[in-house]
Subunit: 323 residues, 2 copies
């Protein structure tokens, strides 16, 4: 009899298919598990798969008294109450770095697209406005990459990959993060200092209570009217209402966003801007990233059911910090 | 009295403004000069500014018997009949490399955008389809950059800048051009071999009679159904009708185009595809590129009127080859 695994978040079928070949998946399709399964069924659940951003607290864990492993599909685990899991002796795993190249690539794609006005440019061709030589105020020449100062907030694996890509575009790269890293880029002493220094702010920091709304009205003001903000981390890092205001007031020049405060929703006020590029949380959404993430999920689940430590566990230090 | 310079192609006003501060510009706004100016006026013209892609042959040169310098705004000079200019003792200048970073950046932007389905992704968010969890077949995960084989056709300054950028994305880079260059990328012996080897074909070759329709139905077939073609060079290098057919038949996966056979027109058949990204010939369209191109134009004109050789002349070798 195959081992049962609860799938807590809503995932496209294709993503779970390789995992479903090894385990019997109890799909909730994003519904609360206790509305889909009986208490008896839930009492048998020993392991679950979740999206790291989906809220998962102690009371939900208590509905599955035998739960021993929470396995996040992806790098993030900000939705999981790590302290609650630790108290209950539940191991938490994720897929560190599996999607780093895909996410970094999308970050750079968003920066290039928004600074070069790619969407208005494509619209200008398709509408026939180019052929009829209509004026195109949005397509006035913009600053290019060589010499552009890009500030990276967070210098984990994704931040490093963003930085190495940007250096190839002849940009200057600086960063701020909780601690200095052994990287060949100047360290700015605060997020404020980074925003004042750069013209593109790249958010690549891990989400959590300490980074919630870190990019607020003041930071956007420091970025300035030639500035752009790119977010491929989590929506919670930006004060989204302040961002909408900054875009409406032209406090900044534009934004590229893959993540939002309430997914899958981007507010109407945001989708009305022509100087933003919006993607539906697809940073790690490449074939290789998915294969790598699925491999991590399977390895974590197999180790757990074999009574071994998770090979891709969330670091104990992070659990301790949150506890 | 300021020196007079004929402006042969249609340029946005802002591009000519710094040049207009030094010279008296005779603007044709893209009309044939002899419909805008009298033969007498044209007989006094000693120098002209043109866009390199605009056709300019011997008979037109003969309308300006004192013409001594044709100065192209940009890197290209494919529209200028170099042999006819040489026969008449007319120097031809351009702006070599001035726009290389801007063009290379757009080439990579187009590749990233089309391979990551950026436009459908943005549309999916803005339409509300994401919020209502509608199916999004165009947004199925695609292959990412690490390990992707990108073939660069042409290894001039733009080709080199494209290559160095792509290496940062962890792509494999190969190239084909008329001759081998001292670059750290494998040389493929033919365009056909390059197309068979790569999954993204980047066109960065100088336009001319020898490269016209070099990318034809056979090359697109070799590229294959997972393949993409990106063109930031000139529309003439691709057989555009063959490209439309290849996209319609799904012989290839998509295309990113900044240039077209007949500008400013992209045919309706091309603009109907969702798996293409189309920009209105804005490769070199950044503030720094324009400043650098304007500097080249001014330096060429000042040297010419001072009786000196053009500092940014089209290489004599190229004139000889074409002659």
């Amino acid at each position: 009899m195959p081992l049962k695994v609860l799938v807590y978040s809503r995932f496209p079928k294709a993503m779970m298919a390789p995992i479903g070949e090894r385990f019997e998946l109890m799909e909730t399709v994003g519904q609360p598990p206790h509305e889909v399964f009986t208490p008896e069924q839930l009492s048998g659940v020993r392991a679950m798969i979740t999206a790291g951003g989906t809220p998962l607290g102690g009371p939900m864990m208590d509905r599955m008294p035998k739960l021993g492993a929470i396995v996040c599909y992806g790098t993030g685990y900000d939705g999981v109450d790590l302290a609650a899991a630790a108290q209950r002796g539940i191991a938490v795993g994720h897929s560190p770095g599996a999607n780093a190249a895909g996410v970094a690539d999308l970050a750079v794609t968003l920066m290039l697209a928004v600074t070069r006005r790619l969407l208005p440019a494509d619209g200008y061709v398709r509408s026939g406005d180019w052929a009829s030589a209509k004026a195109s105020p949005l397509l006035r020449p913009q600053a290019g990459n060589p010499g552009r100062r890009v500030g990276i907030y967070g210098m984990g694996e994704i931040g490093r990959k963003i930085a190495s890509r940007l250096k190839a575009f002849e940009c200057e790269v600086g960063y701020f993060s909780r601690s200095r890293h052994d990287v060949p880029y100047p360290y700015l002493p605060s997020l404020k200092a980074l925003a004042e220094w750069c013209s593109v702010l790249m958010i690549a920091v891990r989400a959590g209570a300490d980074t919630r709304h870190a990019v607020d009205a003041g930071i956007l003001q420091s970025l300035g009217k030639e500035g752009f903000v790119i977010n491929i981390s989590r929506g919670s890092v930006i004060d989204q209402q302040a961002l909408v205001t900054a875009l409406a007031d032209q406090t900044i020049a534009g934004a590229g966003l893959d993540v939002y405060e309430k997914e899958p929703q981007a507010p109407d006020k945001l989708t009305a801007f022509a100087n933003v590029v919006l993607t539906p949380h697809v940073g790690g959404h490449t074939l290789e990233s998915h294969l790598a993430m699925q491999d991590c999920v399977i390895a974590n689940l197999e180790a757990f059911f074999a009574g071994k430590p998770l090979p891709f566990a969330v670091r104990a230090a992070d659990q301790a910090i949150s506890a």
